[in-house]
C-alpha cells in the first residue's frame, strides 16, 4: 500500500459506538498518523454510484472498517466490483481490549478514544506512514 493513497472506508453505523470508533480511526489516520497517504469518501456516495467516489475506491488500495457483523462497508465496496485489501471488524479490536468499553455512541469517552488509538495505530503500520516510521525510530 506504499505508493498509492489508501482509501479507508468506515461504516455509517450510529446505533452503537463501534461505527464511531471506525470513523474516528479513519480521521486519526488521515490527520495524525498518515497525512497525505490516507483519504476517505462517503459510503453513501458509493451507494449512489457517484463517479468520483467509485473511481477513488476502484483505483486505490481500500481498507473497510465495519462496526458490526453486517459488514456494510465491505459489502458496499464489493458491490462496485472492488475487493477491499483489508476488511476490519471494529468489534474484534474491542474483543482484545474488553476493559476499554466506550461510554457513548458519538462521545466515546476515554476508553473509546483509547480503542481508536489502538485501531488506528495498527492500521498505520500496514499503510507505511511517515509518522509511524518516525515513531518507530524513536522507540
Amino acid at each position: 500500500m506504499a505508493d498509492k493513497t489508501t482509501v479507508v472506508m468506515p461504516c455509517s453505523g450510529i446505533g452503537k459506538p463501534y461505527g464511531e470508533i471506525g470513523r474516528q480511526s479513519t480521521y486519526t489516520l488521515m490527520e495524525d498518523l498518515c497525512p497525505g497517504k490516507v483519504t476517505t469518501t462517503c459510503l453513501a456516495k458509493l451507494m449512489i454510484g457517484d463517479p468520483d467516489a467509485v473511481e477513488l475506491v476502484k483505483n486505490n488500495p481500500v481498507i473497510t472498517l465495519d462496526g458490526c457483523a453486517q459488514d456494510c462497508a465491505r459489502k458496499n465496496v464489493e458491490s462496485i466490483g472492488k475487493k477491499p485489501d483489508r476488511a476490519v471488524r471494529v468489534i474484534n479490536t474491542f474483543k482484545h481490549h474488553r476493559d476499554l468499553k466506550p461510554t457513548g455512541i458519538l462521545d466515546l469517552g476515554e476508553p473509546g478514544r483509547k480503542l481508536v488509538e489502538i485501531l488506528a495505530s495498527d492500521l498505520a503500520l500496514e499503510i507505511d506512514c511517515p509518522a509511524q516510521k518516525e515513531g518507530a525510530a524513536d522507540a
Binding site: M9, P10, C11, S12, G13, I14, G15, R23, Q24, T26, Y27, E31, T40, T41, C42, L43, A44, K45, M47, I48, D50, Q70, D71, C72, A73, K75, N76, S79, I105, L106
Partner: protein, 147 residues
C-alpha cells in the same frame, strides 16, 4: 362500569441520516439525528442504517415500506434521499439538506468532519429542531403518517 380506553402505541418515524464521512455536514447529520433520537423525540423516532439497505437489511427495508421517513442529507447530492427512494420503494415524507438549511438560517457549517466543537452546537440544535418539527407534522396527521 369500567371505561375502556384504547391504548395506541406511539407513531414511529424513521430518521435516515446520510452520515457522510467525508464532510463536516455529514457529521452534523449524525449528531443532530442522535439528539432527536435520544433527547427530543425518543418515543417517536428510530434510525435506519443507510448502508444496510443495500446489504439487504430486511428490517430496514421493511420499516421504510411501512413507516414514514425523514432523510437528512449533508449535501445536495442527497444520497440518503436517493437510496431511500430507490431501495425503500417510496419517497421520504420529508427531505432535509443541511447545506440548504444552514444557508437559509445564516449559520456556518462545522469546520471539521472529525469532531464538532462548542460553536457547532447552534447548527446541531437547528438541524435537530427541524427534524423534530417534521416528526411532529407527521405524527399529528390523522390515520396516516405512521403506525
Amino acid at each position: 362500569m369500567l371505561e375502556l380506553v384504547e391504548i395506541t402505541p406511539p407513531k414511529k418515524v424513521g430518521i435516515i441520516p446520510c452520515n457522510g464521512e467525508e464532510l463536516p455536514e455529514g457529521t452534523l447529520t449524525r449528531f443532530a439525528c442522535r439528539k432527536v433520537l435520544d433527547q427530543i423525540k425518543p418515543n417517536n423516532t428510530v434510525t435506519i442504517c443507510l448502508p444496510l439497505f443495500i446489504n439487504n437489511g430486511k428490517e430496514e427495508r421493511g420499516f421504510v415500506e411501512n413507516f414514514p421517513t425523514i432523510t437528512v442529507d449533508g449535501c445536495d447530492k442527497r444520497c440518503g434521499q436517493k437510496i431511500t427512494e430507490k431501495l425503500g420503494g417510496k419517497k421520504p415524507e420529508h427531505s432535509i439538506v443541511i447545506t440548504d438549511l444552514l444557508k437559509e438560517h445564516g449559520i456556518n457549517a462545522p469546520g471539521s468532519a472529525r469532531t464538532l466543537v462548542d460553536m457547532d452546537q447552534e447548527a446541531i440544535d437547528l438541524v435537530a429542531g427541524e427534524i423534530a418539527k417534521k416528526v411532529d407534522e407527521i405524527i399529528s396527521k390523522p390515520n396516516d403518517g405512521g403506525k
